[in-house]
């Protein structure tokens, strides 16, 4: 039996339906964008600065945006395996013909797609507000350089990393809360590099930004391989390694 997108789709749709009625997920998905659009917007509109400080403020505001693709999928994906184990729903799913790759990709997409939609929507709203209401100097600072490119490219890559860390931790955890805490902790390292770029500590050209993005993509793919290898049906069902 070969890889099946139908089975991936079944997991994906199930997850989205589950989110819809899960207050904690709805809360996370609703509160995070509100929080991360309010703070940078207020900070920028109220700003009356120029020069290096303006650059730092713009960078900081954009960094807030990049916390969304790290935080949101971390919480959701950390629940993905250990949550099903706690509910007793994992074993019935694993007794179907689903392959581990299909299960993991279904789970990952269910965290990735809403994250991407929300993160891009928040960024779009932020750009619109900046264009309409911020001082022209501030608006042009936001639109200038590699800021927009960094946001567009690094959002999915950071989300990818956070998701694989979350699922990996989830596959080896026995407690949802511990998994979520460890997942958030493990998801943040790549954010440091992005922070350095956003705050102009590292000045990057477009080519270097794309190069760093390619490196993060390679890390994401490696993380997927590692997580797939960690997904052991026997351990998940019995709690014991083979």
């Amino acid at each position: 039996m070969s890889f099946s997108w139908t089975r991936v789709g079944a997991i994906f749709v199930k997850e989205l339906r589950d989110y819809r009625r899960n207050r904690s997920v709805i809360g996370t998905m609703a509160a995070t964008p509100v929080l991360f659009i309010l703070l940078p917007t207020i900070q920028l509109i109220a700003a009356n600065v120029t020069g290096k400080e303006l650059s730092v403020r713009v960078g900081l505001s954009l960094l807030y945006m990049l916390v969304i693709p790290v935080m949101m999928p971390s919480v959701v994906s950390a629940y993905s395996v250990v949550g099903e184990r706690e509910q007793g729903t994992l074993e019935p799913v694993l007794t179907t013909p689903i392959r581990r790759e299909e299960f993991l990709i279904g789970k990952a997409l269910a965290a990735f797609v809403p994250t991407l939609v929300i993160a891009y929507a928040v960024f779009g709203i932020f750009l619109a507000i900046a264009g309409l209401f911020a001082h022209p100097a501030i608006a042009s600072a936001i639109y200038a350089g590699t800021h927009v490119l960094v946001q567009l490219v690094f959002t999915p890559l950071l989300a990818g990393w956070a998701i694989w860390v979350g699922i990996g931790v989830s596959a080896r955890s026995t407690d949802v809360r511990v998994a979520q805490q460890l997942s958030i902790l493990g998801s943040t390292p790549p954010l440091v590099i992005v922070a350095l770029i956003s705050l102009n500590v590292i000045t990057v050209s477009t080519a270097l930004a794309l190069g760093l993005a390619a490196a993060l993509l390679a890390i994401d793919l490696l993380a997927w391989r590692v997580v797939a290898a960690m997904f052991d049906r026997e351990r998940l069902v019995t709690g014991r390694p083979r």
Binding site: R7, E91, T95, T96, R99, A229
Partner: protein
């Protein structure tokens, strides 16, 4: 490490018979040969062999921790045997064959494992997708009708009672028209009414020719539903039809109830033809006989001749519970020695 590509020691990936084992045609729904599972240093299942015919309801009995669920998980390709081989739904149990085997079987674990925030029909749609089934709507409608839940399709599973959840889990297990259905303690924790409903559903599946592998520690359930039973206590103790097991384990006997004991029972019961022995009971005597139909008339005549006031003469009935307890007690004694 590979979640699907587990390595089964002692199993041939292609299902080819090993040296010393004669090749044979596959006709049984399940064939298990010398299956063993060791967790760390603890043996959960040891050297278990049996076969289950197509359309049969096969009961798998044993006390808690006997290895029933472990056996189901091995046959359901969830965990890898440490050694031994098996054929499930015509497919040799192997790493490579896991997804194909799982597409032909259904496993209903002890806990229903439903998504409580999803409706009944959403739960079933998810599993229809996982089995890549066609005519999803029709199949779900048929499965719900089979468990009498068509009117609850839109209810959230979290709002259903335990009995109804069990029925949804059974509907889920029927979606893919499995060749073999594994039911792990399907009535565990259910009240008598819900238990009866599950029994009726299993009875209706029998009529549809579904092979059912039923693990339970409810002996009356096994006796009522199963064509054959196996009694497991890490190793397989007995396999057979419940009545055959009774005959195998207990000698046939007649229970005699009298108003008052006989004055000289040895003189009355001793010379009777077909009577191999007798013992006193609180209400009369139990006679071990080779053929109750032959011995009973002679016994009645002898008792009347001896002025015995007969209240009843009946063949002793040993339940499956007697068989089970006899075996498990033997096991406990053997372990304590």
């Amino acid at each position: 490490m590979n979640g699907d590509s587990v390595v089964y020691q002692g199993l041939d990936e292609t299902g080819t018979a090993r040296a010393g084992q004669a090749p044979r045609a596959v006709s049984a729904a399940i064939e298990v040969s010398h299956l063993t599972k060791v967790f760390g240093g603890r043996t959960a299942v040891s050297d278990v062999s049996f076969s289950v015919a197509g359309g049969e309801i096969f009961g798998f009995l044993g006390p808690n921790g006997a290895g029933k669920t472990t056996t189901v998980r091995m046959l359901g390709t969830l965990i890898a045997p440490s050694s031994g081989m098996a054929i499930v739904a015509g497919i040799p149990l192997s790493a490579k064959n896991g997804p194909v085997i799982r597409s032909r079987i259904s496993v209903m674990p002890e806990s229903p494992g439903l998504y409580l925030r999803l409706t009944v029909v959403e739960n079933l749609q998810c599993f229809a997708g996982l089995y890549e089934l066609d005519d999803v709507r029709g199949r779900i409608a048929r499965a719900l009708r089979a468990v009498n839940l068509d009117d609850r399709a839109g209810d959230l599973c979290g709002s259903l009672s335990k009995g109804l959840r069990q029925r949804v889990a059974l509907a889920r297990a029927l979606l893919n028209d499995p060749a073999v259905l594994f039911l792990d303690e399907p009535t565990s924790g259910l009240d008598p009414v819900a238990t009866r409903e599950v029994h009726e559903l299993i009875g209706s599946l029998r009529k549809r020719g579904v092979t059912i592998f039923l693990t339970t520690h409810r002996l009356e359930e096994a006796e009522r539903l199963c064509d054959r039973v196996a009694i497991l206590s890490t190793t397989l103790r007995l396999v057979g039809r419940p009545d055959a097991l009774r005959k195998q384990l207990f000698r046939r006997s007649l229970d005699v109830r009298l108003r008052a004991p006989l004055d000289d029972p040895k003189a009355v019961l001793g010379p009777l033809p077909g009577v191999q022995g007798w013992e006193r009971t609180p209400s009369g005597y139990t006679l071990t006989v080779s053929d109750p139909d032959f011995a009973a008339p002679a016994l009645a005549r002898a008792l009347v001749a001896a002025d015995g006031d007969i209240l009843s003469i009946a063949e002793s009935h040993h339940s499956l519970e007697d068989v089970y307890l006899e075996l498990i007690d033997e096991d406990v004694e053997a372990k304590s020695r």
